[in-house]
Structures are given as C-alpha cells and as structure tokens.
C-alpha cells in the first residue's frame, strides 16, 4: 500500500482549475513537489490534509480517505504552512506543547516531545520567550518543530525556505534532509526552487498549471542522457562530419558535438579521440551529457528527450 494515492484528483475554484485529473501513487521518501507559483502545490497539500475538499476524485493518505477520515490522517501528518502562522504573544514552548496536545498527545508527553523537537530544530534558550521577538529563521524553525511534535509519519512542508537568507536556507534544507533520512519520516517538500529540491529530494513530482508533469526518481531525471558532449575550440562541423561518416549518430550545438553512446558499439570514445587527433582540433572537454532539472520546465520539453531526435 502506497503512502499516498491520488485518484483522478480535481479541484476547481470557480473558473480556475487548480488541480486537473491528477492520478499518482507515492512511496515513502523525500519527495519534491515542484511547480511555478500557482501551479497547484498548496492546493494539493491542503487536499492531502483533508482541509480542502476535492471537486472530484479521491486522495488516500496513510490508507485513509482524507475527506472521510481527515482527523485520523492529520493525527499522523505534520504540516508546515508557507505563510506566517505563529501567534506573537506566546513562547515557542507553550505553542508547540499546545499543538502537540491538539494532535492527540497526552500533556506530559507533548511537553517532553516539544523540548526534543525544539532542540532538534536548533532552538534553545529563546524557546521560552514570546515568538513575536523571533527572527524569520527562528520562526521557520518553530513552524518545522510544530509539524514534528507529534512524530508524524508524513511531513508536508510548503516552501520551507521562504524568507530565509542563504545560510538559513542551507540549515533548513539540511534539517529537512536529516529528518527525512535519519528518522524515516516521509517528507513532501513543495518549492518553486529546483535547486533546493535537487539538494534534498530523492523523488520528484512536477506539476504545471494543475496537471501532473512528471513523477520519477530524481536520479532518472538528472542522470545521463545516453549522449557524449564533445566541446572543441574550432572545427565542430568537421568533427561531426567525420564521426557521422564513422557510423555514429551526432548532433551539433554551437561548439559542441553530441554523440550518441547508446546503441553504438563500445569504441565511441576511441573513435572520438582518433577523430580529434586526426583533425588536429583543440579539445575543451569531453563528458557524458546529463539531464538538467531545468530542462523539465522549458516550454515544450519532454522528459525522455533523446539525442538522436
């Protein structure tokens, strides 16, 4: 049974379709949910929490229908909202203890867990002071701590690095990564920043204008494309011609010649080397071509775009 199963999930707000017929199954891991602002990330997270009703379709989280058994789902799910949501007049300790109780923990257990998670996110003496005086970084930590206090099986983080400076971003991403890998909590990180997702996630779900664009392990999206990039100072045309006549499939891109490795016999590297030596070209670099995540979001991009296409 998967962690999350979405069945033809659709959500409309009046004329706007925020989620359009999304069917998807996700297994535990650190899952990146990427898409531009307004792509439907927050809508999806709120449906997973049972806070928003789907217009049609179903969302099953931890084996429960989020509409019919929302409280059971939320008992085991932690949610870190994107926006500011902390009352300024209470201390982090009091707030997180209270929220832990609202997730069903006995009071004493909630106190103990609060002390632990606040230490885990790096809040020490300041946790007894009113939140109103905290920096943005500290507030983000409190938001993460309240999502962890009841030891959820699934953590939903909506733009967790919002408003943080570069150092704060690094720390938050490290914290998310540690939480997901060392403690076995499944994490969904929604972000519009691919670079961040790339650093912490092992699975990627991309949505665009409410539609599912791709859902695949990160490695398969950033792995080799099955092509060799050969960059030379001058004479790329001559090189391409020479390699084609040697029976290889090639494509030109300015100073770069892309050579298909897949399907060719094992001597591609030798042939390329010999060709460069024969033509007396100045070689800049030679490397296997890797997919980039950004390519996913270029207009008209196709995930399994091949070199020979």
């Amino acid at each position: 049974m998967p962690l999350i199963a979405l069945e033809a999930l659709t959500r409309r707000f009046g004329q706007v379709t925020a989620l359009d017929d999304v069917t998807l199954e996700l297994e535990p891991g650190i899952i990146g949910l990427v898409g531009a602002n307004g792509a439907g990330k927050t809508t999806l997270i709120k449906i997973l929490l049972g806070l928003l009703e789907p217009t049609s379709g179903r969302a099953i989280v931890l084996d429960h229908d989020t509409q019919r058994a929302g409280t059971l789902v939320r008992e085991h799910v932690g949610y870190m909202p994107e926006h500011d949501c902390l009352p300024p007049d209470v201390s982090a300790t009091d707030l997180v203890t209270h929220l832990g109780e609202l997730s069903g923990l006995p009071r004493a257990a909630s106190r103990e867990r609060t002390a632990e998670v606040l230490r885990h996110v790096g809040l020490y003496e300041e946790r007894y002071r009113p939140i109103g005086g905290y920096s943005t970084g500290m507030k983000q930590r409190v938001k993460l701590a309240q999502a962890l206090v009841h030891d959820p099986r699934l953590l939903l983080l909506d733009e967790p690095t919002n408003g943080l400076d570069p150092a704060g971003r690094d720390e938050m991403l490290a914290l998310v990564h540690r939480t997901g890998t060392e403690f076995g909590i499944a994490v969904i990180v929604a972000s519009h920043l691919l670079g961040e997702i790339e650093r912490v996630c092992d699975f990627l779900v991309a949505i665009e204008a409410g539609r599912l664009r791709s859902a695949a392990p990160l490695a398969s999206l950033t792995g080799g494309t099955g092509a060799l990039r050969v960059e030379v100072e001058d004479g790329a045309d001559a090189l391409a011609e020479r390699l084609t006549s040697a029976g290889l499939t090639t494509r030109r891109d300015a100073r770069i010649v892309l050579v298909a490795i897949d399907g060719a016999d094992g001597h591609v590297y030798d042939i390329v080397r010999d060709a460069i030596v024969d033509l007396d070209l100045a070689l800049v670099r030679i490397e296997p071509e890797r997919r980039s995540l950004e390519a996913l979001f270029r207009p008209g991009a196709i995930v399994d775009e091949g070199v020979a296409a």
Binding site: L72, H83, L102, R107, A109, T179
Partner: protein
C-alpha cells in the same frame, strides 16, 4: 588543534567537553530526534485540550499581565457586591441587627443578575474577540485545523470556553453569597436547606445568559480579525436593540415595533427570564411570558451558533 598528532597528552589540557578517550566530559548529550511510541488520544483529547487553553485565554492566563487586566477586573467587579453584602451582614450580626440587615440587603440571588448584567455583557464583548481574533489575525487556524480535530470542534471548544467563563463570572459571586449566609447563620443546616430551593433558578439564569451572550459575541467576533471592530460590533448588538425598544415604546404608534426590538434584545430577554425564574413581578417590556422569553433566548443562541459554524466551515485557511 584537532589535526595535531598528540593523542597521548591531550587529556588534561584538552578543550572543555572532550577527552582523549573520546568520552564527552560534562557535555550536553544531543539526543536529537526520537520517535514517539506513546499513546495517541485522538480527537476527544484534542478538543478538551483546546477548551482548556481557550478558557485560560478567556482570563488571560498564560498571556501577558495586560491580557489579564480586563477579564479579572470585570470578574472582580462582579464579585464585589457579594463580598460587600456578606461583610455588611456579618458586621450587622455582630451588632445584633443581622436579621434586619439581611432583610433590607439589595444583594440576593434573585437580584444578582441585574446587578452584574452590564459587567457580564462587557466581559463577553471584550473576551470573545480575544479568543477568535488572535487566531484569525495571525493565521494560526492553519496550524489548528491541520491537527486531530475538525473545524466544528474548534467552534465548539471556543463556545464552551466562553460559556464556562461567563458561568464562573456569574456563579462564583452567588456561591459567595450562599457560603456567607450559611456560615453566618446560627443554624447552618436550616440555612442551607432554605437556600437550596433557589439553586435551579440561579443555575438556569446563569446558563441562559452564558449561552446567549457567548453565542452572539462569538458569532460577531468571527467576522473581524481586528479586536476593536469585533468588540464594537458586539456592543452595538447588545446596546442598540434595547435602545430602539425604549425609543419606540414611548411613541404610541410604534409600540409593536418596540416590542419586536425588545424581543431581539439580549438584555431585555435575559431580564425577563430572570424575573420568571425567581418569580418576580413582570415589569419587563418584552410582552411575552417567562417560558417564551427563555425559548427566545435559546432560539437566538441557536441562530448565532449556526452562523458561527457556517462561517468557520467556509473559512479559507
């Protein structure tokens, strides 16, 4: 220093908290994150925790000193007549005039609601916005609704908290009167049995007032994140209908309209129920009998609660 190849001599002069053997000396152990294997008590526990926290907020407990000023000030003022009356009766008793003093005392079970009604209305107008506005203003609802409870549970918890707070404000003074009378009496058991008969009326009136004022003030407070607006709105709802009723009553042509205004005026309705419950002569302007005015109080409460529930069901988080 960590790279220096002198492990054998490191122990005495090593950096605080470390030793050559690798065992931390007096350092704080980072237990980090641990799984929780204990009990999970679910929705009922969550709701009762929310009620308790909300009740504390009603009195500003766990908040700054300034937050306590208004609720404790109003509750203290509501208690004052009871304390003074008991003190006066006690003093008179020592002078041998206890019976007369008690007979003429204006502070009794039946009149207490009328004495503190204004304070009660002010308490509801001040504290209901405090309970809801804080969560609305700082968008805390998304943290609360994403837990093991439903939106309606949140509404129920807030209503229960304000009702209990208003009951406390009303019943603690009545309890003081009761204790004072019982303890200052020469025959305690006779004094107690004489007063027990008033219990249903005391509790009934307090409950009607608490439910009616809590539901009206919370329903209005749910429409504004700004505390001052919400409080002003509640005061208007409490003050305007009796004012209109009073004005229209004097013009003979609009007497019926005046009666209608009195029917939706919380102060008029509760005044009528108080007279009915304690068997006082009916001089109210509401123009319906006691049971009917109690029914009106219940009906207004039900409408206000329905508004509150719908409001929170539809609220975006």
């Amino acid at each position: 220093m960590s790279g220096s190849p002198t492990p054998a001599t490191a122990a005495p002069g090593a950096a605080p908290g470390t030793s050559a053997a690798g065992a931390p000396l007096g350092s704080i152990y980072d237990l980090g994150y641990r799984r929780y294997e204990g009990r999970r008590l679910g929705r009922r526990h969550a709701v009762s925790a929310l009620v308790r926290d909300s009740l504390r907020s009603c009195f500003g407990i766990g908040r700054s000193g300034r937050a306590k000023l208004i609720p404790f000030g109003l509750a203290g003022l509501a208690l004052l007549p009871a304390v003074v009356a008991i003190g006066v009766v006690g003093l008179a008793q020592q002078l041998g005039t206890g019976a007369q003093a008690e007979a003429i005392s204006p502070v009794r079970y039946a009149t207490y609601y009328g004495l503190i009604a204004q304070l009660l209305f002010m308490f509801a107008a001040a504290q209901a916005p405090e309970l809801l506005g804080r969560d609305l203003r700082h968008r805390v609802l998304s943290l609360l609704f994403s837990r093991a409870l439903r939106r309606t549970d949140y509404v129920i918890a807030k209503v229960v908290a304000v009702v209990v707070a208003l009951l406390l404000v009303q019943l603690v003074p009545q309890l003081v009167i009761f204790l004072g009378r019982a303890l200052s009496s020469t025959d305690v058991s006779r004094a107690v049995s004489a007063d027990v008969g008033s219990l249903p009326a005391v509790v009934g009136q307090a409950a009607l007032a608490a439910v009616l004022l809590a539901s009206i003030s919370l329903a209005i407070a749910s429409f504004s994140a700004r505390r001052s607006y919400a409080t002003a709105g509640i005061i208007v709802a409490f003050v305007l209908p009796p004012l209109v009723a009073g004005v229209l009553r004097n013009g003979a042509s609009a007497r019926d309209a005046g009666r209608v205004a009195a029917l939706v005026s919380p102060s008029d309705v509760l005044d009528a129920t108080n007279r009915w419950l304690f068997g006082l002569p009916d001089s109210s302007r509401i123009g319906v009998d006691g049971p009917a005015s109690a029914a009106i109080a219940v009906a207004i409460s039900a409408i206000a609660l329905a508004v509150l529930v719908v409001r929170y069901r539809r609220m975006p988080t």
